[in-house]
């Protein structure tokens, strides 16, 4: 892996986190921290599974609003953790409107954002602290830590956790070029919001903008942002499979893709790439691995 990429690569593999992605860090912190007995969230992806399982562990009720056309495997997964799945036809009703209606019907419930919530940042900070602890072991330190950016909750959490532990390792956000609202935001020095959700294969990065809480942390604490192409992301999934025996979902391979997109920047450096998760529809995965 390191030879192929020209850098000393370490993968921080969150595909083995509970529910298969880093989202459990933030979701479990929300479920444990809020006093409410019920939690409502909208998610077609990893946050829904993570919140469903977190509520099960915390003994709370959980409702996950999902589009009616979401992958069957994801709907079944959320249900398997004991949550109520509320399917909406997103052509007729917007997800946020459905969440508002559920909240109106159950005012005691907590509405959880998948990324723009200080409790989510705080939960994700545990990853930053873990990486700082690895650096503190006395071996060779990371020259850089790379993580994908969508809503920004992961990057905000990592940098918060590192700095709280007194670790100044540079953190880079890696963003699909076709969903580059954060790169645009850094240039504009304010949050840039896309008109529509960009349809990158990295579905965890299909956010229209970063969250406000995250922006406050990220706008002056990152080393920078790197854009990657869809082809880089696909090739990164294949590299994880072939050279590291790691099953990464497309979003999970975004950080590593930066070493393909900008190989000179990290040449010979010791780089930690966060693999954010491994939950991928088999058909999507097969089409990537079978391609070239």
């Amino acid at each position: 892996l390191s030879e192929r990429l020209g850098a000393e690569v370490v993968l921080a593999n969150e595909a083995f986190q509970w529910t298969g992605s880093y989202k459990f860090r933030g979701a479990s912190n929300v479920a444990k921290s809020v006093p409410n007995a019920a939690i409502i969230t909208a998610s077609s992806g990893n946050f829904g599974q993570a919140m469903a399982f977190s509520c099960k562990l915390a003994g709370k009720a959980c409702t996950v609003v999902m589009p009616a056309n979401a992958a069957r495997v994801k709907i079944d997964s959320v249900r398997s953790y004991g949550a109520t799945v509320d399917l909406v036809d997103t052509k007729v009703v917007r997800r946020e409107d459905r969440v508002a209606a559920l909240k109106a019907a159950n005012p005691e419930a907590y509405v959880a954002s998948a990324f723009d919530d200080t409790l989510v940042i705080q939960g994700n900070a545990s990853l930053g602290r873990e990486l700082a602890a690895i650096n503190a072991r006395g071996g060779k330190r990371f020259d850089a830590i790379l993580a994908p950016i969508g809503g920004g909750g992961l990057c905000a959490g990592i940098v918060s956790g590192l700095r709280a532990a007194g670790d100044q390792t540079p953190v880079w956000a890696v963003e699909p070029a076709m969903a580059n609202d954060f790169v645009q935001s850094l240039a504009a020095k304010r949050i840039v919001i896309q008109d529509q959700e960009p349809q990158t294969i990295a579905d965890g990065a299909r956010t229209r903008s970063v969250g406000k809480h995250n922006w406050e942390i990220l706008h002056d604490s990152l080393a920078g942002a790197i854009e990657v192409s869809e082809d880089d992301i696909r090739e990164s999934v294949r590299i994880c499979f072939a050279l590291a025996n790691v099953k990464a979902e497309p979003t999970g391979a975004v950080a590593l893709a930066a070493l393909l997109a900008d190989p000179a920047r990290f040449r010979g450096k010791r780089v930690c790439c966060v693999v954010t998760g491994g939950n991928v529809d088999p058909a999507v995965y097969l089409s990537i691995i079978g391609g070239s």
Copy 2:
């Protein structure tokens, strides 16, 4: 994963071992221990890669005899570790004859068996010691440890390492039914040798018999042997993919397949299944994951 299988399942994942399989444990012990400056071995699979890399680390010359029709990706992998690949047309020359010829040409070289070598058992024993150390941590102990059996070097190593650490956890050997020479051997109380290499999809278990050194250890130290069908193995690969985000090669999924073949035996128990490796030809993997 545990709910699906009705047992509390822990995967000991050797797909992240150096060169992607447990074979590095034995191979590196051979390369470090023998005084010879050159090592010759015959392997179309994981032992070849493991020995090539082990020799690179030990500063020794390595020749791996492989069939000319071996998967390109495996030949390339052995070469990438700096070893010499010696391709033979196995229809014309038997691999063992070619090894003998190479040894005659270079009498100073050590000929390494992939499994029937006390140094290989000694290397694999490190896994048994690691599992014993997990048991000794004070948490819930494993009720059983399951590992696949082909030549028997892994099972012999695990049981040796456990017992040397004073750990009496039962160890079960899991064997593809179409390659069940070890099950037959246990019944006959002597090593049974198949006429031909059985063509199970678990290519790491395509041995005609267990090794003599391994048999001495295994014949009276295992809890027993469990046979699994080819369908069980394929389903186990899919379960690793879907419910654990683990990329297992077919041989790597054999131990877990025992929970499909004989679910009542381990119901509710805490079971450690050894995933022996993750190196699988993409086309083979895709056909398994895409099947059902």
